[in-house]
């Protein structure tokens, strides 16, 4: 697997690159000695959640070639569906094992993933597919998805109101880690679930026929079609994976923040796009790396500047990437 990953990167194991990597590690160590470790850890967990959103966003961009602005609101939609299921459908439960939430979340999450996938496929059938067939400019499709984003958020507000909500929870003590790092037990769940989903996605993309067909379609749609790949089916798979990951990201964000509100996904859109661009548009592993970098950078920045500017950090990273290396960190020339 390591060999395959290094093959995906535009880097070779040359002496120069080894030296550069060494310097980078030194730089990171130097930064770590100044930076509060707790902020780095916070950033990694936030980055993991961002990654689930960003991977879906980058896959959708790779296949459908438009910026899916409603992706953040898919997250919100997922978070609220879980809120509904926990509050009104499933038995009330809290404090499962070390976590604040109850066992019901484990039932609600897969159901919600399915619901958000259904939403995405219905939207594609009703809107995006029609626009594709008419060969509409992708900017128009992106603007349409902005409309979908606003409509979806409106729907959330109509159903659940505009206030802040919480999943049923039971307070639990934090874990004490070395170097003065304290983390809420729920974050173990966040980290583990993200890891499982990313590994599953990696297996899907590299081992299955549909996964390879997705990557091929993302590389070159026409060549995919003349190879016999049914690209409309690839589109549906892309929506399904993107929506399932977005739903999970939304729920994990609600767990992470210990609250949910109608603009939670919308507010995270800039960091998502920053992660996608930093990691090279269309590259899911790049999106993962980009999201972790953005997450850590945003959290660490709060050591010196007010937390209100966190989204601005992501925005700044996005602008700098576009200016210095528009292909992103993992861009490959065609």
């Amino acid at each position: 697997m390591l060999e395959q990953i290094t093959h995906c990167l535009p880097l070779r194991l040359t002496a120069r690159n080894v030296v550069l990597a060494g310097l980078l590690v030194l730089l990171v160590l130097a930064l770590l000695s100044v930076v509060k470790m707790e902020l780095v850890v916070n950033g990694l967990f936030l980055g993991a959640i961002l990654a689930l959103g960003a991977i879906g966003l980058t896959l959708v961009y790779g296949i459908l070639k438009f910026a899916h602005i409603a992706h953040g609101d898919f997250m919100t939609w997922g978070a609220y569906i879980v809120f509904f299921l926990l509050g009104s459908v499933l038995p009330h439960s809290t404090g499962f094992g070390p976590f604040t939430f109850g066992y019901s979340l484990f039932i609600a999450l897969p159901l919600t993933m399915m619901a958000v996938v259904a939403t995405a496929i219905i939207l594609d059938k009703a809107i995006y597919q029609r626009l594709r067939r008419r060969a509409v400019n992708t900017v128009v499709i992106a603007m349409t998805s902005l409309g979908v984003a606003i409509a979806l958020r409106g729907l959330v507000q109509v159903i659940w109101g505009g206030g802040t909500e919480q999943y049923p929870r039971l307070s639990k003590p934090f874990y004490q880690l070395p170097m003065g790092v304290k983390i809420p037990p729920d974050w173990i769940f966040i980290g583990a679930l993200t890891l499982i989903l990313v590994l599953a996605l990696y297996q899907f993309l590299t081992r299955t026929k549909m996964g390879k067909a997705m990557r091929a379609t993302s590389d070159n749609l026409e060549l995919a079609r003349v190879s016999g790949i049914n690209t409309e089916r690839v589109v549906w798979w892309t929506w399904a994976i993107g929506a399932a990951l977005a739903a999970t990201a939304g729920v994990l964000l609600a767990v992470f923040q210990a609250q949910l509100f109608p603009v939670m996904g919308w507010k995270i859109l800039i960091p998502l796009f920053a992660a996608v661009i930093l990691g090279s548009i269309g590259n899911p592993y790049g999106a993962l790396a980009g999201a972790l970098i953005i997450g850590v950078a945003a959290e660490v920045s709060t050591q010196w500047i007010t937390p209100a500017y966190k989204p601005a950090i992501a925005f700044a990273i996005m602008i700098v990437t576009l200016l210095l290396r528009p292909r992103g960190l993992f861009g490959v020339r065609d």
């Binding site: 093959h7 990557r215 995919a224 079609r225 190879s227």
Partner: protein, 234 residues
Amino acid sequence: MSLLEVNGVVAGYGETEILHGVSIVLEKGEIVTVIGPNGSGKSTLLKTIVGLVQPKKGQVSFQGDDITSMAPESIVRKGICYVPQSSNVFPSLSIHENLEMGAFVRTDDFRPRLAEVYGLFPDLAERRREMAGRLSGGQRQMLALARGLMLDPVLMLLDEPSAGLAPKMVASVLEKILWINSTGVAILLVEQNAREALKLSSRGYVLASGQNQLEDRGQDLLENPEIARLYLGG
């Protein structure tokens, strides 16, 4: 019944019409070259045959079946593979995965074919785990041919397989094409290196401004002074 019959095809992109009634015929096992100046519609002809461009008029039939308005993903199942001039590999996929995509529609065991293709292109076999995006222009062209072969095609449509290659690579590509043909695969070739291509071909078509100008045996086209002056560089 000919293997491929293109009959009075009118096609283009959007409002722009590029082919104004082109007809060609290809028999089983033949190599046929289409030559003509830039913009004469050679590439559009190949794209129309393979379904990427929908013709407004005319007919395309393959082995007696009408494939005129079929989608590319269905046409490939008939055994037609198309190798575009550029962007003809999947750059972020490994060489091996590119070949697997070439066999995408095959439901049988294609491992013997894979071994055969690697035997024909030993350079690719050595680097099978590398990303195709890292290959040089000539190697990409080889991979594009190899990808096409994975289908075990009846007909290969090759759009300028030697464009932009060093002379040594050109010879090597043409040699592979001859070998492929010797296994019974019919080949429709569009070439800038018209002289070299016509030498391999049983017949050739001259296309100009989206219309048939001439059809003749490859050798006769080479010896035709008019053709030599206009299309073969003197």
